[in-house]
Amino acid sequence: MKLLSVIRKSFKEQVRSFWLLVLTISTAPFFVIVYYLITQSYEVSYDVLILNNDTGIQSTSTVLNHGAHLIKAISDENRESSLIIKEIHSRKEAEKKIKNKRADVLVIIPDNFSRQLDATEKTQEIHPFDIEFVGDITSQSYIIGAIWIHGLLSGYITGFTNIGEPYNFVETSIGVSGKRSDFEIAVPGLLILSIIMLMLSASSAIVVEAEKKTLVRLKISKVTALEFLCGVSVIQVLIGVSGVVLTLLVALGFGFSFEGSFLPFLLIAVLTSLSIIAFSIIIAAFSKSVTQVLIAGNFPLFLFMFFSGVMFPLNTGEWFSIGDYGVSVISLLSASPAVSALNKILIMQQGLSDILPEIFMLVLLTTIYFFVGVFFYRKRHMRSE
């Protein structure tokens, strides 16, 4: 009865604070748009410089230079890819470009390249030679560029010498990961982000009663802290789920393809909203005004955003595992199992049974957050001073 009344009141107040509501649920969709524009405008490329020192070999009337052939072959093959291959004639100049981040990898083809390759092909025995890779080995672009060009070099050499690797390299993409763009891979994290953004507005919705002193009226009535907080939370969960759905719609509009099943997705959205709102109660318990929420709430907000694996993956030491979900320090933030579950649903096309460990973690964390929040809220706001 009282719970229903609090829900009704919260709903009316929320709807009547129209612009605040619009801003709350449109922040994450806006973030999706911005992220989409960033991924579209930012073309990733790996600049590889090749210094061809190959002197070649005499073949009938002409000089055969395998180094030059190699450069032409891999340049033609990768015209459409983000590997940009350029020939350079000075090592010094190449190293200068790498130092200035104008190139990522320098490949030096040795002077005996054609000779050794030719001998290998004729004798079918390996005649080794050195191919030197030069670059900033701490740079991710160097690592990717070097791996890529290594594959192309191997392809050219085995193609010419007919001496292949003792294995066939077969790559199989899990779920729909092979078909996903950078933008699409980020969508599960962005969906969870849309719920995390609810943290400050939910805390504000709770703490505003203390700030406006209307809590005094509730304190001297029969409503309990639990009833009041549950009532406010119901509306905030609805806002959270609306925010996720809106974010998903915007992502779909920008080319995201929803491949998983909707019900597990909705379940994770509801559970994550509940956990974030439960955490908001803890923030509200320690704040006396909306201003305090906005200042103090930033710290947990950033923790949830940047240290839960939502924005980028984090590697932390695993404590133990629940099913196949590894629990580590970041699992204490509910966004972490949430984003793991959404990745499984949306990228790996897994079902409800596969995300049970994440669901368990979400329920556990939500319960802990909620009861800690209610305990402190009651202690700090609802008791006699």
Binding site: M1, K2, S5, R8, K9, K12, E13, R16, S17, K212, K213, T214, V216, R217, L218, K219, I220, S221, K222, V223, S384, E385
Partner: protein, 314 residues
């Protein structure tokens, strides 16, 4: 504890660090009376009220409601209706919505809460505003709504903290009539700075200062017994020259205090009415001709100032 009392406090003490906001306050509020609770700013009125309503924990002492010792908020929840000094309303709810909401928070059925809300709105002349959002109301209307919010659960005791603050004279008269009306069926505790309001409404008043109870009595008894008394102003006619100094001397022994301003004698004494004839006869005997005579009774404000002093507290 006698059941004739709606509220009794025994040696109620509240300390905030080194500051003793309420210092051994012992009060007895009778059932069905309007009990005025007066004191300068910072005297400890609101802290006392908050302790009675269980919003603040006493450092020491006891509170009894209807003879029953209050140990937790649940014992006072339904019995007391608090109208706080600040206007505390939900700005984005309509008048009716918030009255029904708070009624439901007291466990009243929605239908009952609605009917009580409509009744209160009618008595406070807010019926036409029932569907208006509270933040759109004028300050006076919000103040009236503030009072309604304290009464929707039909408490036995209404604690009204400065209910007339910020009201225009018309609204003040209406609220005063409303308080008189509810006083027929409820015990009312009224805290106010408005002495006129307290005098008109209260059966008894308590004056508190620096956390200590100074006096409790009816306004009439207080006026009779406390202060410099009534003020009598006598105009001396300028026949044969007016020597107010001489006039002061001849009646000095008859009154508590005398002074003059121009040709007017200002006399302060208790029960002045009984002494008027004696004073005028004495003046006549001494060849003073009197003109206009003005009498101003001792007010509750005079009593209040006499007890609490003129010095500003904040």
């Amino acid at each position: 504890m006698s059941n004739n009392y709606a509220i009794v406090t025994r040696n109620l003490v509240k300390k905030f660090g080194d500051l003793t906001a309420v210092d051994h306050l012992s009060l007895e509020v009778r059932r069905g009376e309007v009990f005025g609770f007066l004191g300068p700013n910072g005297a400890g009125k609101s802290t006392s009220i908050n302790m009675i309503c269980c919003l603040t924990k006493p450092t020491k002492g006891e509170v009894y409601i209807n003879g029953e010792r209050v140990t937790g908020r649940e014992k006072v929840i339904s019995r007391i209706g608090l109208c706080p000094q600040d206007i505390i309303i939900w700005p984005r709810l309509t008048c009716l919505e918030q009255l029904v909401f708070i009624g439901e928070m007291y466990g009243i059925a929605r239908r009952t809460a609605k009917s009580r809300a409509l009744d209160l709105l009618a008595r406070m002349e807010l019926t036409t505003k029932k569907n208006k959002l509270a933040h759109t109301l004028s300050g006076g209307m919000q103040r009236r709504l503030n009072i309604c919010l304290a009464l929707v659960h039909n408490p036995e005791i209404a604690v009204l903290d400065e209910p007339e603050a910020g009201l225009d004279p018309q609204s003040r008269i209406m609220v005063r009539a409303f308080i008189k009306e509810i006083a027929r069926e409820k015990t009312v505790i009224l805290t106010t700075h408005n002495m006129d309001e307290a005098e008109r409404l209260s059966d008894r008043v308590a004056i508190i200062d620096r956390g200590k109870l100074l006096l409790v009595d009816s306004p009439d008894n207080l006026k009779k017994s406390i202060g410099e008394g009534d003020v009598l102003e006598i105009e001396l006619k300028k026949k044969n020259g007016t020597d107010t100094g001489k006039a002061e001397k001849v009646i000095k022994t008859l009154v508590d205090s005398i002074s003059s301003h121009g040709n007017i004698l200002i006399i302060k004494t208790k029960n002045v009415v009984e002494k008027i004839q004696l004073i005028t006869n004495t003046l006549k005997k001494n060849n003073f001709e009197t003109g206009e005579i003005k009498l101003r009774g001792n007010t509750l404000e005079d009593v209040f100032i006499h007890l609490t002093g003129r010095r500003l507290r904040e």
